[in-house]
Amino acid sequence: MAVLEYQFMQNAALAGLCGGITCSVVGVFVVTMHLSFIGVCIAHAAFAGALLGLFLGFDPLISALVFSLVSAGIIGPMADRGELSPDASIGIIFSLMLGLAFLFLGLMPGSRTEALNLFWGSILTVSRQDLVFLGGVTAVEIGLVLVFYKEIQAVVCHRQVALAVGIPATLIFYGLLFATGLTITASLRSIGGLLIYALILNPAAAAYQLTYSLRRMLLIASAFGVISCWAGLAASYLLDIPSGASIVITACVIFGVATAFSPKRKVKRWQRS
């Protein structure tokens, strides 16, 4: 516990707490709506935006936020209008963002250390400013979920029904996509653009295996998210391995254990028989 006396470790623990909660909460929405690939796509958009910021010499989080929100604003209507199938439209945006990310990386002069840090993330070097941003996003997100819980529940579980009963379902849906973009941007420095979606998907997917209640799923996923961050952080410190990777591997292990002991697997077996 002596290690927690260091300021950088306190910051990292706080970033793990906020990042674990906020990523898992948006993860619950994308996993329940079967839109996991959207999370992957927005994460790469944020990453490409951040690299553009670095390339042009301004705060990468600003351009990451713009890119992630714009990609969320494009994916939603493309998927809704059905001009292309949702997986095709998301795949096209995803490949464009990956292409842009490598383009900006290639054009960047000199050392690319900061750019590579956005790849892997570095929770141990998270700044006070990043922590305030991440904490603010977490607080706003929790507040919005508490206020609009019933609308969110209706949209993530029964989107067409929500629309038919007069809930502003489209507004809520886009709000969830924008929240995903905001969350990814806020977690980019600590977790990294390539690893962030694992922290979005794994705790939520693990919680999805364990409960039939959305409220409990949000709580379980948040707990798994925080445990992934803190256990990953501890493993990183003790074993001297990259923190982003250890966080994601911990989240994957939790998902594996949850799936192995999922009570829902019995339902699946029962349905097959």
Binding site: T32, H158, Q160, A162, A164, V165, G166, I167, L214, K264
Partner: protein, 261 residues
Amino acid sequence: MDDVVISIEDAVISYREDVALQGVSLKVHRGDFIGIIGPNGAGKTTLLTVVNGLARLLQGEATVLGLAVNKQNSTRLRRRIGYVAQVENIDPRLPINVRETVMVGAYGRLGLFHRPSPAQWQQVDRILDVVGIAHLSRRPIGHLSGGEYQRAAIARAIVQEPEIFLLDEPTASIDERAQWEILDLIQLIHGKYHMTTLFVTHDLRQLPSTCQRLVLMKQGKIWRQGKPELIFEKNVLSQLYGVPVPMPLKAGSASWLHSSQ
């Protein structure tokens, strides 16, 4: 004319290059039970989506419950219109139970920033009892059979306290026994809650006996309409479907379904 709750004039709707509705006009009076029949692709479902504002009119106009159906009014209108669609494929792991799913019907009317009261949860329990699935209230919605799911969907529509009840092939894809139970339930609900009901089906045997008027649709147009006992005739139906329709139809719940002409 004050009791006209649905008035559609010359409605045209197109999905890309396909014209789904071509100049359809329809008037429905308060308390009517209208059956809408026709082959697949005739525009039956699209006609329902004109009523609840889910479809965008390219031409013509629609007035429902005294409000013009447009982007501004559609959310307000949908709160007053119950909609039950076909059984959909639900993920068995979906994290919501039957009671919560039924309560979703009240959320539009409740509005943002308001939570359901204990009295509203009690109302949900009473309605689950009316539709016969009170014992399933805590079960995950994805674990219900097709018939049970449709009962939950009907309960959700009742919780909404709608003035208009839209039913889009509610008995499709469920077993024979559940089909007749759902039909009986729909007729019970129509009478008990004094709603205006529009019932769409392509299966002639699934028309409830309470139908006061039949609307026959073909190729995006209202091909014919009238009282069921006058219109439910072998030649008319054979022309509608483009194949000989054997009469009398078997297993119908309505007396006029058995008439052999």
